[in-house]
Subunit: 498 residues, 2 copies
């Protein structure tokens, strides 16, 4: 006889499998589906989302959740029960009509956003934004929260995160970052980033993307790399099938070079999750923030680090002799670590990136406390850009319409990007302490010590520890901005001779 | 208020969508999935198959089938109701335990077959075959039949087909084919097929495959071509997303050249089905035999025809100057229409191919009437090969273990291949009558008149007419072997100077 817990897990796994299949449908659509397949695909996607939802939020699941018992010694089982209760409660709190209404509204809003962005005209998108905010407020109220509605939304992406705590961290980043940017602006010794905009042939970029993803540890027997308009990482078959995408611009090397390292970071996390617990919470990633910590660590701390390039720069030069023939390692290292305030988040450097996120966090939070009206978003955006980055968008296209997130109803998602940067720095500082020769091994092209450390400390645990717990467990301290400040100050001081 | 019929159709469409998603899972697995994804994928496939089955064979479907009413004037609705009843009855007749047992047994049998084939050792596979036959007999009894159990199995692939009627057709083919083969053997003027085994670079073959599939009418905005070990055609998103695969052997051009035309033929049918009725029977293909008629017509009647090559041979020569530089159109036309008895069905020529099918049909039918014991299959196979083709396999690998079908439990499938050839010839003869300048247009590279004719007469009707009805409607006569005999005699006589 199967226990209630075993039957519950079988259900949870089925839901997980339906979601994995949905990921394949999305991957296929982004990467290779023929154009005329779009109608049938959207029907398939809707069907599977509905099936997964029905399967999760059913009387049977509720009954099994009430009956299931696990031993407190069994961490994986305890985690599975805890997280399934959390996810069930969230899903069951929102009535099906509201879920459908949100799906309908965001589906139209995504189109409206694309058109408004194209036309650089916020008012076209405004009524859709208003409607989404109204519905998301309803969602937040139904899910419930202790302090403010925004917490309920963040909880979907970063379980346990609280807006007030995030604000406390971000507050410490604001002035520090502004100060660091100002110092780079005033120093006379500036790196030359224009070398990254020389001509880099596509085919060579593809070879390089594959080689560096492998160099970081990506297992191609358990994954793929393909091309898509927006790079992403997805796992349509658990740790054994992890797929990343990238894109190639012949006049801008970083898009594929660091884009691939970023997605590889996500992929290494997914490939390192415990396969025997796939499709259950204890076999899944902790949160978007922890996920982002892995992508940012490999992209920035490793991939934009001097140790890595002291080993790999010669091979990159050999791939791009025309573009890099006259460039030294120092010049290249400077170029990839240039600080320069800019309008578009996804193109931002490692320092100013967080200011873009903080701006969005402030606006979102204000929209949900009610202190900002949706119609005033462009003005608030531009004013914040001026204050924090010293530049003002020339129109809504390079301002508040640049990101797709709001049109999808993904409020509470943005802060996870900067949380990821903070987690990454704190983890990496600990890795340096635990692996005294980390830089030495990276300089020899050996990434395995770091990957093994991440696998042992983070990946293999799935969701067994919440983000906050995990950080304390791995680093002995709660999350703070200090490791990031130390890391970035050291790097930028070196590059700019501060 | 939705009518019972409308609710029934919504259910049927959902089942169709689940099946389409399963097709995508299979396509992905065959074409590009990383190796380590196989476990998760098999769980996903099983889950979706189970969901589709449960959704179809439910009390709700039964109730709606009983309540649904359609107007006799509405051919599509009448078809949907008739075919849903048929499919429901088949599915509901077989208890879930038997379905699961068959899935379990065939899953193991597929592995055992692969090993037995590798080792050319039938006894390794024999117990699996025995078990599958036993289960399939049970399936046939539960589904029911008028004359013999084999009819119930054929009905899955070729609805309405009867073994006795198939035998009557095949009987007329046997002696005719043997006689034609004998005459090609005795004539001194034989074409030289070895030119097809010269060196044909892969990249060029890929260009050619794409160009000729487009030349036949394949719409790449509604489809793709990729590489897989075994070529196939699948529609993971209805007429708007039809995918074919091919394979490239540098020392054997026909595999990709005619393999692609064959799959393109299947694809043209799928792309021509009525999109507005997708995922319902009236929007789906009639039967495997009718499907095969489309692939064989484009592969053989068009693709191995003189008219087509009188237009395209120069371009093929330009693609393969080394291999074809010294070859004339006549020599090429002879080479691609050579008759030569051989062991392996999938490599057989257009004439001897049917003898391979008839042999399998006879063995399968005898296994199910009980006149042949599974243990005697190799002996029966070899004896039939000797009698019909004049050659004897040197082992079971090039004998009775060559095809995967039996290990999958697909009994009753093989006859659809030859039925396809017969349908194809009868349709093509009618097309020639309806389009007097058909050869002229093909010789100018114009395939649209034939495709439009097929779309109008066959594709757009989905399953609205059963195979037998369709043939009578399109050609004015029931299916017969005469058009095939006329067609092949004319072609082979020309090539061999008979």
């Amino acid at each position: 006889m199967e226990t209630a817990y075993q039957r519950l897990i079988a259900r949870v796994q089925d839901v997980g499998r339906m979601r994995a299949v949905s990921e394949l449908l999305d991957w296929d659509q982004e990467v290779l589906m023929p154009d005329k397949g779009v109608t049938a695909r959207s029907e398939q996607t809707a069907l599977l989302a509905g099936l997964a939802h029905e399967h999760l939020v059913s009387d049977e699941t509720k009954k099994l959740l009430d009956e299931a018992e696990v031993s407190g010694d069994d961490l994986a089982a305890t985690t599975n029960l805890r997280e399934t209760k959390r996810v069930f409660k969230r899903a069951a709190s929102v009535p099906t009509d509201l879920v459908k209404e949100l799906a309908r509204v965001t589906s139209m809003a995504k189109n409206a956003w694309a058109k408004a962005r194209e036309a650089a005209h916020f008012p076209t998108f405004a009524p859709h934004l208003a409607k989404i905010i109204e519905l998301e407020k309803d969602v937040a109220e139904r899910i419930g929260y202790t302090t403010e509605p925004y917490d309920a939304l963040m909880d979907e992406f970063e379980p346990g995160a609280r807006a007030a705590e995030v604000e406390a961290l971000f507050a410490q980043l604001r002035d520090f970052t502004a100060d660091l940017v100002e110092r780079t602006r005033q120093t006379p010794s500036k790196p030359d980033a224009s070398i990254l905009k020389r001509h880099y042939p596509k085919e060579k970029q593809a070879t390089v993307a594959r080689r560096f993803s492998e160099a970081l540890g990506f297992d191609y027997a358990a994954g793929r790399i393909d091309v898509s308009v927006h790079p992403f990482c997805t796992s349509p078959g658990g740790p054994g099938d992890v797929r990343i995408t990238t894109r190639y611009f012949e006049d801008f090397l970083p898009a594929s070079l660091f884009g691939t390292m970023h997605e590889t970071g996500h992929a290494l996390y997914e490939q390192g999750l415990p396969a025997e617990r796939a499709c259950t919470p204890s076999g899944q990633a902790v949160s978007l923030g922890i996920h982002e910590s892995q992508s940012r660590m490999w992209e920035n701390m490793v991939g934009r680090g001097r140790a890595f390039w002291s080993c790999h720069f010669d091979s990159l030069k050999a791939d791009f002799p025309e573009a890099l023939g006259d460039v030294t390692l120092d010049q290249f290292y400077g170029a990839i670590n240039t600080v320069s305030p800019s309008m578009i988040r996804v193109e931002a450097d490692e320092v100013t990136y967080n200011l873009h996120i903080i701006l969005r966090f402030e606006i979102e939070r204000a929209l949900f406390t009610g202190s900002l009206d949706h119609g005033d978003v462009p003005e608030a955006w531009n004013e914040k850009m001026r204050k924090s980055l010293g530049i003002v968008p020339k129109d809504d296209r390079e301002g508040c319409l640049q990101d797709v997130h709001w049109s999808m109803g993904a409020f509470g998602y943005f802060p996870t990007y900067t949380l990821g940067n903070l987690y990454a720095a704190q983890f990496f500082a600990q890795a340096r302490r635990d692996l005294p020769d980390l830089d030495g091994s990276l300089a020899k092209g050996e990434t395995r010590p770091l990957l093994d450390w991440l696998r042992d400390r983070i990946h293999r645990h799935g969701q067994c520890y919440r983000a906050g717990e995990l950080v304390e467990r791995v680093t002995g301290k709660p999350l703070s901005v200090e490791p990031f400040k130390t890391y970035i100050t050291e790097k930028i001081s070196g590059v700019y001779g501060l």
